[in-house]
């Protein structure tokens, strides 16, 4: 048994509520570890004192006044000391003070975890930024994965289509990977339906190339791309 485990269960030990097995393990540890034995002795003496002086506590004559005095002393003294509020009184110490007054001693594991989170966030934002930059560049250089006619469409539309197209490419790969397992009938069905959707996509793109601000074509394009995405997803999971 180590000290951490020992100190977790030592109060149960003093209360006498430990199992025999735990008790013998703890005893063995206490014989070896002076620090834990000291903790045990302290606890036992506190409990002993409380048991001896049970019922001797007398409430102060004016409890409210006492709390007020304590508060005044704390407020006039060191600001970093956080006082417990008087019973029934709301805390006057601001959240900010509470926050800044808190002790920020972190364990080694917490430090490692914090560093890992910071590294992860920075890496992700870098990747996302790079991807967005590359997407913009590829759209500018007229190498859009959908169609060259997109060059006439607005940047916003292009962005959204590009995002949808990336997802479509991903699911398309999954479909191609799984396609061999399907029956010939299922393969034919998939191809036939994909053709219908692609036709709708191309028609919308043609309309958009003629009129880049055509809202209806834009809507139809997004609906068709979503439909394509949905079809690919479902067949990819087959």
């Amino acid at each position: 048994m180590n000290c951490e485990k020992c100190q977790d269960i030592i109060s149960d030990f003093v209360d006498g509520s430990l199992s025999r097995e735990d008790q013998s393990l703890l005893n063995a540890h206490l014989e070896e570890c002076l620090e834990c034995a000291g903790v045990r002795d302290d606890l036992q003496s506190i409990i002993g004192f409380c048991q001896t002086h049970r019922g001797e506590y007398v409430a102060p004559p004016n409890e409210k006044a006492l709390w007020q005095r304590i508060r005044n002393m704390i407020e006039s003294g060191a600001g970093s000391v956080v006082a417990a509020p008087a019973p029934g009184k709301p805390s006057r110490i601001s959240l900010w003070k509470n926050w800044t007054g808190r002790s920020w001693e972190l364990s080694f594991a917490q430090l490692i975890a914090s560093a890992a989170v910071i590294i992860l966030v920075v890496s992700l934002s870098t990747i996302v930024g790079l991807r967005r930059y590359q997407t913009g560049e590829s759209a500018k250089s007229n190498s859009s994965p959908v169609d060259g006619s997109l060059s006439l469409a607005t940047a916003d539309v292009r962005d959204r289509i590009s995002q949808q197209q990336q997802l479509i490419s991903f699911w398309n790969q999954r479909v191609e990977y799984n396609k061999a397992r399907w029956s010939p009938q299922m393969r034919e069905t998939f191809d036939r339906n994909l053709q219908v959707i692609d036709q709708a996509v191309n028609e919308s793109l043609n309309s958009l190339s003629q009129n880049p601000h055509d809202e209806v074509s834009e809507e139809m394009l997004h609906a068709a791309l979503n439909e394509k995405l949905s079809l690919l997803k479902e067949f990819a999971e087959l």
Partner: protein
Amino acid sequence: MLNSPTLMKIRMPARLEIPRIRFYLKSVLFTGILLVAAVGAGSAQSQQRISKRYPAAKNVRVELKNISGTITVESWNRDEIKLTALLESPKAIISPRQTNEALIVDVRADNRGRSDIGDVNFTLQVPVNSSVDLQTMRGQITVTNIRGDMVSAHVSSEGDITLLGITAKQVFAQNTIGDVFFDGEFVAGGTYRFQSGKGNINIRIPADSAFNLEAAAPNKKIALGQFWNNGFKSMGDGRKYVGDVIDGRSKVIVTNFQGSITFIRR
């Protein structure tokens, strides 16, 4: 000439052969029937039929995810669900799961990663106030006389969708290739979405239906019939119509990429 002995000799065998040919024909026909019957019996044996009943609340939800095959749902006057499945292949696995509120049949999950399991044709009888959420990758969906909160029919690829006698607050019907037919009522505050890639969408509703409509078809085949009024706004040179019928108390969105959209008065 006819009485000449030579001719008699020639005709006599022909007369004799007619009954023989008839006999052969009959034999062939009989054998054919036997063969067809045998093949039919064989295929019937290879098909498996599952039928189960589940006790259900009046407003039970039924979720069905099929891979391929027809789905037919109809209401009946009992507080139970009867599920009948006809399995084309004995390899198919079906494990319906019942919770407090729903009956869930997920053929896709039950058979994930398996090779082709063929068609599974479902027939469900459900309480009239049930909600139904039906999906298949291929095959027809037919729903009749349902008055629950929701009727959802989604065919990922091809298959007609027929919704008859539907009074639900949320209706969703979508396919890629195939017709969509809705015959029912639009409930105040309800949402109704119909979408097809290549097929005709026909919506048959009472004459006094009140709804807000967004209908889009790139080929401009949108026929609102009696429901047309001057308040409708035409967009994209007649490819989309937006407007209210009466007070627009329910929302109707219809999209068709290649087919027509037609509203029919009941």
